[in-house]
């Protein structure tokens, strides 16, 4: 009984208590990832934001996600672009690794990242973190753009008495809403109380924390005659690339944790002293006792990653056969490691490339076409 209560407290944001939690091995809620494919073939200039409320692409969402999205008009667009951002970033960060973040839109409701997300390895940890972070980032961004009209307005880090409205003390901080929205939207799917669930929750939160902690502080002096007698500061979001970079660093230094430790123990202790009932504080024991406990920014995993050398239909990974590798590198992108010792073939080819381009700040690239002889190495 006590366990149940604690669990409910942990899931306060998702108010899962009202429902009997069904045991879903493959998180059905991650289907929202497939929003990334919405409008993929022809990315047309989109209609005004107001029309996005009745965007038909709500299908992959769970009931509660749909409710959340309908409650926050415009957020579906942000979620959609968040999903795209996450995939793009994942592919970018892993382009030189054996596992290069393959995605597959099969339209059958399977996860677009393949079955790897059902495993508890580093790669799945990264996927959970980056997608959750992308939603937080994208929603915050959309708030700043004015795309979501329901972003919160809390101005102070503490609770002020009611009536201190916009006119009295203004509005600020879009990042907080992004974080809260992502937590509600992403964590909602992770029903259950097994170890995998706890790990995923932790990694989701880790992703979001990287967004919130990556805020940059800017200040402007505007006192009398522009002096610094009055200085106003604010926090602004960094680019999602930076979030991706830091998550990739955490991926490399991810902590392997001992299964069976579902983090509940720490939670019980936490709720025991009356505090932390609102906070989900998960605590995992690292597999290597010499390692320190994973912090809230660290990614955690409990299964070894496959080698990703051979094609694995189950995981939706094609193996490294045919992948291009770096002939001179001794790192993971080098041909030795990438091709798993199977060797590689080298071919010379003639490529027609754009060159001597003239760029402007956004677009309008005026280029010449050059033909160059190139060499590439491909894994056997």
């Amino acid at each position: 009984m006590h366990l149940m209560v604690t669990l409910c407290l942990m899931l306060l944001t998702t108010d899962v208590c009202s429902q009997k939690s069904t045991k879903v091995k493959a998180p059905k809620g991650t289907k929202w990832w497939s929003l990334a494919k919405a409008g993929e073939p022809s990315n047309d200039l989109r209609s005004p934001l107001t029309k996005h409320n009745n965007n038909p692409s709500l299908e992959p969402l769970t009931k509660r996600q749909r409710k959340l999205v309908t409650k926050n008009p415009g957020s579906i667009v942000a979620v959609e672009s968040g999903a795209k951002m996450a995939i793009q970033e994942c592919k970018h960060q892993f382009k030189n690794r054996r596992w290069n973040c393959p995605t597959n839109f099969d339209g059958h409701g399977n996860s677009i990242f393949g079955k790897i997300i059902q495993k508890g390895c580093r790669e799945s940890a990264f996927i959970y973190a980056i997608t959750s972070a992308a939603v937080a980032h994208s929603v915050s961004r959309s708030c700043a753009e004015g795309g979501i009209s329901t972003c919160t307005c809390d101005t102070e880090p503490h609770d002020r008495p009611a009536g201190r409205d916009w006119e009295w003390s203004g509005c600020s901080d879009n990042a907080k809403f992004g974080h809260a929205f992502s937590r509600k939207f992403v964590d909602i799917l992770e029903k259950g109380r097994d170890f995998r669930y706890m790990t995923n929750l932790h990694n989701n939160e880790a992703g979001r924390v990287h967004v919130s902690s990556g805020l940059r502080r800017d200040c402007k002096c505007h006192g009398m005659s522009g002096s610094c007698a009055v200085k106003t500061c604010w926090m602004s979001l960094t680019s999602f690339r930076e979030v991706g970079n830091s998550l990739k660093d955490r991926f490399d230094g991810a902590t392997r944790i001992l299964p069976g430790n579902d983090g509940l123990k720490a939670e019980e202790e936490n709720s025991g002293n009356g505090r932390g009932s609102k906070k989900r504080k998960l605590s995992f024991t690292p597999a290597n006792p010499n390692h320190k406990h994973p912090g809230k920014r660290d990614l955690v995993y409990f299964e070894d990653s496959p080698s990703f050398c051979e094609k694995d239909q189950g995981l939706g990974h094609n193996g490294t056969t045919g992948r291009e590798c770096n002939g001179t590198s001794i790192g993971i992108d080098g041909c030795d490691l990438m091709c798993c010792g199977r060797g590689y073939r080298t071919e010379e080819y003639v490529a027609r490339e754009r060159c001597q381009c003239q760029f402007h700040w956004c677009c309008d690239v005026i280029c010449k076409v050059c033909t160059v002889n190139k060499t590439r190495h491909m894994c056997l």
């Binding site: 700043a144 600020s172 402007k220 690339r241």
Partner: protein, 548 residues
Amino acid sequence: MAGVVLETLSNKKLLILSFSLAIILTVFFLIGGIVAPSPNSVMDTLTVKCYDKDNGWHLNNMKPFTPRGKDSCKYIDSFNDEEIELKKIDANEIVFSQLLPLPKEGIDLDMSRWFQNLIAVMDVNVEYDEDNPYPENNKPEMLIEAKLFYRDKEDDESDWKLLAESSEQRTLDCTIEPERRRKGNLYTCELISLFELGSVHYDYYLINIRLPIDPRNTMNRIGKLADMHVIAIFQNGGFTKVWFSMKTVLFPMVLVVLVWFWRRVQTQGRSTNLTERTIFALGIILSIMNCPIEWLTLAVNMPYMMLLNDIRDGAFYAMLLSFWIIFVGEHMMDQVDRNRLMAYWKHLTVVILGCLALFIFEMCERGRQLVNPFFSIWSSEIGGAAAFGFIITAGIAACIYFLFLCYLVFRVFRNISLKRTSLLHMSTLRRKYYSGLIFRFKFLMIVTLLCAALTVIFFIIGQLSEGQWKWGDIDVSLEYTSAFLTGVYGMWNVYVIAILCLYAPSHKKFTTETDDTDTNSREEEVQLTQLPSEASTLTSFITKQSAD
């Protein structure tokens, strides 16, 4: 002997007065800290990249680009979209647009007249890209074509009226650490000032910005732009309300004390002396500063209010500086007769010079902004140098002033110590006269130093702290910046009120002093009539007596 109220006041009364003034001061500080919100709010907005398909801007089509609402523009999500290439979208066809304020909590917010002023800065996000590099060795020039529209709540949603438009040149200054030089990472760029409005008279503001590219020049060659943020800073309505109320309360208070002071001076039946006139002028200028004409901004559009407030503040500080010089000079206790403004021309020139430099700078920046809100003196090289020159001049003037003041104070203290030794050998009248003078001077010195020190300390704490203080676990938090502003404002008001009260001529001793005067010799009276300014009350009294 006649002096000022301060000398005739009993210690008990003085203590009560000081105590009550200290309480008033604390109240001001707490009003700012607890009642008022932070002085300013920030809206960090991301501009929407509107696609100006028909090149309407270029054709001088006045139609504004709105980021949302009924007539919102066609927009691009990111410059990485394939459609840019597909549709051959040109940099000249992009208009960055944002509508202030952003909607929040599902409510369509609007700007309030209580906000008083609106400052907008641009945060340009430049991405690192080897193919399209940011010119790191020379800071690139930007040409910003900006338009600012306004609309009121009652107006039709597409009825935007032009408030200002301008083409401005700014320099972009970005840096990136070597280890972060990877594609997609952002440069750290200096903020670029966009516009400053001296009044927030309308409900909605629409910003349209274009960064035109011309193959004939090197404008806007800034590398790869990812996003453009426009950050709007405005005074919080709550702070404005507290500030207005404070001014409204202080204005009549100071005025009453001022009238009392002047009537007291007038009833002395002699010509006024320089110290009295200076104190009176200080009171008048404080009253001008206190005068809450800001209330009018709620009804009338007064974009010059910000400039006017700066001038009023500046005038007060100039007067305060002049007052200190004159007061110290008049308490010199040497046998030189000053009592004229001309005697202080050297010192006052320095004050006026410094203030004039700041005034010209202010007029160049904020004065010019009345005509063109996008103007910034710092954006052009000559303007920046001139502005720097003015500030340097003001700084030098401030230094010279400080040296003058220190020198004068030093001389007064030397004279005091000289007088101390001979004080015992003096007659009662003389002794009382000098000890009164010394007491008055020392009192003002202490109070002034205390006020100045408090201002400086508060300011430093404000710079160091994050602007928010929390006291323990109880939910009492202190909005420090607001407390600093209201506290300092209240403090100088209290300071002037105290001076007006305590340095008003006293008529109390007329009755008590009569016993003392009979011991004075004729010779001494003659000497005393030649005493400098401060003795004028005394002199007049003595001459009156001798006439009797």
